[in-house]
Symmetry: C2
Subunit: 593 residues, 2 copies
């Protein structure tokens, strides 16, 4: 900074002056954060993006300007000229706290109506109001700091990828609709009547074409669009760090982007993260019931009705005997949970979105004896077998769910996360990264009675599993696909791509495409593959999500300057909106009655 902000309006910012500046004549600009009229003296805290500086107005020496200062309301925009003076009551909480400005001239650059909520770190404004007046919300330090964090994240991402000779290429926004996958936003073409552009859900095909074009390493921080029903934390437009590399295998991609993640943690948060552990999809499902486990804490699943080691069967407890899966977690040191706390957990797992029918627990007492909620069926030796299976020690709490495999794993995942939260094991300032590998290539849809690509139709099967593909064992084929998970959040994912046209054709066949359909939808990519496609692989990171994670926040919304609400509306600009008839006519469309 320094002379950098010297302009026709100001000599310094409100975050800049220090004790060494005492005696200087300065001009500051900013907003009135607050003012105090103490009779002989009036004080105004003047705020800009860079900080706060105290303006002091002396009734004795500068009566007129002091009178003027008394009339300044919150958020007025001021230009203040004066002398830097050492403060009597220093404020150690702000960098400018050693000094104040004895103001000799004051110019009101703009007045302000009273804002609809307070411009403070903790505002009294509700979500809706803050969204409507987003430009005021952005004045608050926590929201502004999110924007600055995002800026720094983008900067450091580019710095790293530039250093690795990735080329930033802008891919088009007006593209062609592809029926596969989520819904596209579309744009009627005035010049091509009856035809529509689509907005990209990702630059997937373009980045693959850039590899065919020989660009070798591509990246882009790019807006993508998905017209889905918005859940709590989804936005119709979102930003990806989109990357692709040529002449690489999975191992190369993992190494490269582990490098990016380490660089971001180090440069943005000052954190050195260790080598990122790896886990197969199968293990993630087995031990955490989720393909994005939060590995800040362990608390792995233990199946109690394993074929090899069934420690719950044969005791006439029908719930367990009839269950496809009986699975436990061991909550360290939680044996002291009260009846009330256990009831809360039971209520939690029975919520419709979790869907368990009940919760069984077993406390390991300090003396090693065990008290369970199913003592009727299980005697002490039986319960000790549970404890052994779970590696439970005195003071631990074993929590057990039972039912169908998939549903029970899902419910246990939720319960595990809940216990992690309750036991303080999910500190937002600690970070656990994880590669999840070997995803299934295909996913069966009961609804459509066919297989879909889990990632997308260009993902390569693992070479050792291609035989399974040919043998029709579609559910068993694993993909060279990988996700980066941080703190239980999927922040990135990618795959090695198919670059052989015969394998690609086989893949389309498996997915139920006729040759014509495949040609019609992906013809330009398949054609491109005929002209010498290199082996290539890539990854994309959810940039909004990555920023919110680095910012230690749950919601991505506060890391987007102008977000939309759950109906896809921007309540500040009040869009979308109706068009007039003339515009519709020009676009060759009409509204459906």
């Amino acid at each position: 900074m320094g002379e950098n902000f010297n302009s026709m309006y100001r000599t310094n910012t409100c975050g800049e002056l220090r004790i060494a500046d005492v005696g200087k004549k300065v001009t500051l600009c900013g907003w009135v954060q607050k003012s105090r009229d103490l009779g002989g003296m009036t004080f105004i805290d003047l705020r800009d993006r860079f900080g706060l500086t105290q303006l002091a107005f002396n009734m004795e020496t500068h009566a007129a300007v002091c009178e003027q200062a008394r009339k300044m309301g919150r958020e007025f925009v001021l230009q203040a000229i004066g002398l830097v003076k050492e403060r009597e009551n220093k404020n150690a909480n702000i960098p400018t706290g050693d000094i104040e400005i004895i103001v000799t001239d004051l110019v009101v650059l703009n007045e302000a109506k009273t804002p609809p909520f307070t411009i403070e770190d903790n505002t009294d404004g509700g979500d809706d109001l803050r969204m409507k007046y987003r430009y005021l919300d952005l004045r608050r330090a926590p929201v502004r700091n999110n924007m600055l964090l995002r800026h720094k994240m983008a900067q450091q991402t580019r710095l790293f990828l530039d250093s690795q000779d990735f080329t930033e290429v802008e891919t088009p926004v007006l593209i062609k609709s592809t029926p596969e996958g989520a819904r596209d936003f579309v744009v009627p073409s005035r010049m091509n009547p009856g035809q529509f552009y689509a907005l990209p859900q990702s630059p997937q095909t373009f980045k693959q074409l850039l590899m065919v074009a020989g660009l070798d390493r591509y990246y882009q921080i790019v807006k993508c669009f998905r017209d889905e029903d918005l859940r709590a934390d989804r936005q119709p437009e979102f930003t990806q760090i989109d990357c692709e590399m040529s002449f690489v295998e999975q191992e190369d991609v993992l190494a490269m982007f582990e490098g990016l993640v380490k660089h971001l943690f180090h440069s943005v948060k000052g954190i050195s993260i260790p080598e990122v552990p790896r886990m197969t999809y199968a293990d993630a499902m087995k031990f955490y019931g989720s393909d994005k486990p939060d590995t800040r804490f362990d608390m792995r699943f233990v199946a109690l009705n394993n074929a090899e080691n069934n420690v719950v069967g044969g005791k006439n407890f029908k719930v367990f005997d009839e269950a496809e899966l009986v699975v436990a977690i061991c909550a360290k040191g939680a044996a002291n949970y009260t009846r009330k706390q256990l009831d809360e957990l039971t209520d939690f797992v029975k919520k419709p979105q979790i869907g368990a029918s009940g919760l069984v627990y077993a406390r390991v007492n300090e003396d090693g004896t065990i008290k369970s909620s199913v003592d009727k069926f299980y005697d002490e030796p039986a319960l000790q077998n549970w404890a052994k299976a779970c590696s439970a020690e005195p003071n631990d709490l074993i929590l057990i769910l039972a039912g169908s495999d998939q549903k029970t794993r899902k419910a246990m995942n939720e319960l595990r996360l809940e216990m992690g939260t309750r036991l303080g094991l999910r500190n937002k300032d600690s970070y656990a990264c994880l590669w999840v590998l070997d995803f299934p290539l295909l996913e069966f849809s009961e609804e459509d009675n066919r297989y879909f690509a889990m990632h997308h139709p260009f993902t390569a099967p693992k070479p050792e599993d291609v035989a399974l593909l040919s043998a029709g064992k579609l559910g068993s084929v694993r993909a060279n696909a990988y996700d980066l998970v941080i703190n239980g959040v999927e922040v990135g994912g990618g795959s090695v791509r198919i670059f052989n046209k015969d394998l690609q054709a086989q893949m389309f066949e498996v997915l139920g495409f006729t040759k014509e359909e495949a040609q019609n939808q992906f013809g330009f990519l398949m054609n491109a593959f005929e002209f010498g496609a290199p082996p290539h692989a890539g990854i994309a990171f959810g940039f909004d999500r990555l920023c919110s994670l680095f910012g230690g926040a749950e919601s991505i919304r506060d890391f987007i300057a102008f977000p939309k609400n759950n109906s896809g509306r921007d309540v500040m600009i009040d869009g979308p909106s109706a068009l007039d008839e003339k515009q519709l006519n020009e676009l060759h469309i009409a509204l459906k009655k």
Copy 2:
């Protein structure tokens, strides 16, 4: 580079190996540029993004792999393993020209059909074919280098603006349609039946809101959209370097972005450009007949029928006597133009798009006498007055057009540029930058019989001209608006913004908006201005254009990875395209019959 590109597939790139690497065992990947079978030896030039390396196959020592090499077609993708050896016939034209690889193992990673045009610097492919197979066109060094230049331009732009504490903020792409200005692309909202998003023509209002939000300095390299009939070098989606600053006046903005331009020239082209000269809009029109004069050469307009100095009147030459404007340029050293060349110039100015009715010329001979095309009317002393007015010297050619003021200036601008080209004064490797200042605030539209904002409705009038605005002298009000022109191309433009709500209201009134219309269209911005808007100003650069200028090219298309044609079509992906009925129904729209 170096170890950077070491992957599971290769140890080095094709641009990397030097004499110092002789003796190393390496693995390279790339495309077959060309191959030569010399019987005992076969050579393949292997190409990747980084260069070319010669692969050598020896029939005597490695017969099998040499046999294999003979079958490799153009653009096959190969992996070659071998030893680096010093070449006997060195090639000084390429950085790897001192070495070759004696190949011991060759893997065909992918085959390739014969490409539809040659992948050479000078290709045999026509525009349409190259667009259809853009991924092949991008393999050609000149096109690839354009992409790398663009990458570097973006990188250096961000580097500079980051160093000046600008914050990069992403503004939304799905916004609200505003009827003012060019046509918007629109996006039907599935969740808000009958309503449409618009794609931004620029982030203008959002960047102003970011200033109200106190972000102080904003930038973004951002896609913008304009649904206009496409002229030769327009794209429906284009990229802007978009910037805004708070607490600044025009002078601050000019200084800052002169800094950016100097930085780009220096870091990307290695050129140190001098201080950027300034010219008022009025002078630009007077001396060049254009608000974006090419100042690589002088050849200023000289009015010959000035009130103060009319050197053409009173000689009974009706064409000049009746003309509102008689204007000359002096082409230095062009007195030797032949009859044929002069006829060509006459044909040029008479073209419908130029629109002059004829061309008068006067040659200044070596001896100082003058020969003109209107000697019937003008004697030697009269012609000497022309020469004096034009500062013409022996061997110069004076070219004169006459007619209505505006039309004649426009035609003379074209003639001046044509002469500049013919005389070799428009070297694409020399750069002349210029600030054009003091644009009119308003422009009268004969068609609509009202004034429109020349820039946009938020541009501030010059403070000294506000009185003219109030007095209704609308055509005379100058704006604090500025354009950056390089070599006759407008590469950027911006303005100081209105930040006072009363002045903004006055502006809307002048533009014929009712209060309701203004509120309806720009309400959110006008509301924001009530809560303490700082003085602010900004600028936007056409990034595609800037890249093409730095690349020394006329067309922006070759600086866009996947451009659209003049009908707004991407011929590679064949978009836009039709949607199925189901999709239209979901969007609550129908096609107009």
